[in-house]
Amino acid sequence: MSIIKKRAVALSLGILFLVLPLLPSICFSAENTIGVIMPGDLPYYQEAHRAFIARLVREGISVKTGIIVQKPYPDAISLSNAARKLIATDVDIIVAYGAPAAVSVVNEQTRIPMVYAAAYEPYMSKIKTRNSTGITTKLSLSSLLRYLRGLTQISTLGVVYNGNEEDSLYQFREVSRLAEQYGIRVNGVNIKRHQEAKAKLNGSRFDAILITGSSVGHLAMPAISEFAREHKIPVGSFLLCRESHAVVTLATNPVEQGEKAAEKVIKILEGVSPEKIRVENAHDVELVFNFKEAVSMGWKLPMDLVTEATRLIK
């Protein structure tokens, strides 16, 4: 290395050491830890979390040592345990993916700030506290039902939900109400653990299946897909996931969820109180048609539906 280059490097390092202490300190240290609850380790939450980390890294925050991720099974006890572990660890902020995870944190009555993502909007009243902020999703149940009706004539609709996930239960009730308007009979498939799906679906006769935004429902996707393929019926879903065999999915973009959550975490680390950080609705709604799945089942997707898609899986 030439003398000039060596001097330039030394000068740069000198300036860096002088300037660093002047910058607002939001770098993670031992006492700056983020606790994350990612129920069921769902691919949708994984994608949101990748975007969350990427955003933190982009903002210049080292995250390698500052994050504890809990991946509990999406039932009330496991979620509550995950929340308690993070509280006991005395994390600085908790990030909760999905409304049930956020509710489990609120139930612990902790003062630790919480940022929720992918929380279903009708459950805002349960998760909005002085210590929380986040990003919510509000998806049109009637639209997903409409697209499913466009794919096939539906007399009986199977709706997969989890009675223990309040948002999923709410969606089940709403879909039942909407379906009644169209003379569609709804058969609810209430699964509390994903292993139950096969047995609960066995012997059922549906013209289509709609999976609510239930984490358990999405863990049961392989069994639901197998059933749907066997009976050649379309599946509609509210969560995007890579392994999904849903022919139509209406979901918010997980990347937007992760990035917005990161923005709010950064503000809290900068000292802004969560109650002063605006709760936002997800804007980026995707309508995805799975051409590949439709073709494999011998279905022909109506062109008038396909033209509405924001994304096609070929």
Binding site: K138, R146, E308
Partner: protein, 294 residues
């Protein structure tokens, strides 16, 4: 080098053929349709009309859907098209910029040839006024539609919003009235603007839509669709087409075609029918003679 004059000669000959080949009405009459709803449904509705006119005129009449609204005028200018069913905005552009002449309006099943523009949102969005629209996402149909763009712009300006682009968080064009309505229903947009005819057509097909959407504003009435023919289209043929359309409700075959088209009859179109459009254009600050639709 000797080949160059020969190549030039044949190239000139080919160009001559290319520009002189389509003589109006000789081989077929090509009429453009602007994409109002799903293009496949729209083509299905218009196919019987093409067959009916072909029979009446003794010349093949063919309809084609243009990919974008603005393309209708482009095709007109490049002389590839003999006529087009224009929406009100493209009608005004065609009259002002191309000197095209209106022929007939289809009258809907309710007995009107006029439509309105609706500005709407999901009922559960709580968007009820211009103030509520601040920072929201809005879906438009196309820059060259009055019912799917221009009226909404004039409405916002009338309510003191000098720059709608910065007032809204985001806006985008969907390309059709139907897609705009579905965008709002799905939550892909917070607010939409579209033609009342398509809005009501979708509500008739799916009653649930009425419970989900709320209309924030309605425009004055504008002529809906108008058939225009090129200025230099032969007068004899023009009269034949006009007579065939105006007489459709008087013969059984014509009535069947009208039914497919969801129309009750055709009436003669006049330039004076477009006055309400010019009022809105003025409010939106648009000069139709110089307006760039792309």
């Amino acid at each position: 080098m000797i080949y160059r004059p020969i190549v030039s000669f044949f190239a000139s000959l080919m160009l001559l053929f290319a520009f002189s080949a389509p003589v109006h009405g000789e081989k077929e009459i090509l009429i453009g349709l602007i994409p109002e709803e799903n293009i496949f449904t729209q083509m299905d509705r218009h196919r019987p009309l093409a067959a009916y006119l072909s029979k009446k005129l003794g010349t093949k009449v063919r309809f084609t859907i243009l990919s974008r609204y603005g393309d209708v005028l482009d095709r007109f200018m490049t002389r590839k098209m003999d006529g087009a069913f224009f929406g009100v905005f493209t009608s005004a552009l065609a009259m002002e910029q191309l000197d095209a002449e209106p022929v007939a309006h289809p009258v809907n099943l309710e007995g009107s040839y006029a439509v309105e523009s609706y500005i709407f949102a999901r009922k559960d969005s709580n968007i009820k006024s211009v103030a509520d629209m601040k920072g929201k996402r809005m879906a438009f149909v196309d820059k060259a539609t009055v019912t799917g763009y221009l009226y909404a712009m004039s409405f916002l300006r009338e309510h003191g919003i000098a720059d709608p682009k910065t007032y809204l968080r985001d806006s985008f064009f969907t390309g059709s009235h139907g897609s705009t309505i579905y965008s709002v229903l799905d939550g892909r947009a917070d607010i939409g603007t579209a033609k009342s005819k398509i809005f009501l057509m979708l509500v008739r097909k799916d009653h649930g839509i009425k419970d989900e959407l709320t209309i924030i504003a309605k425009s004055p009435e504008f002529p809906d669709t108008t058939l225009f023919l090129r200025k230099d289209f032969p007068q004899g043929r023009r009269a034949q087409i006009r007579d065939a359309l105006l007489g459709m409700d008087k013969d059984a075959e014509g009535k069947e075609v009208l039914k497919k088209l969801e129309a009750s009859l055709f009436v003669e179109a006049k330039k004076s029918h477009f006055q309400s459009f010019y009022d809105v254009a003025k409010m939106a600050g648009i000069n139709v003679k110089t307006y760039k639709y792309r």
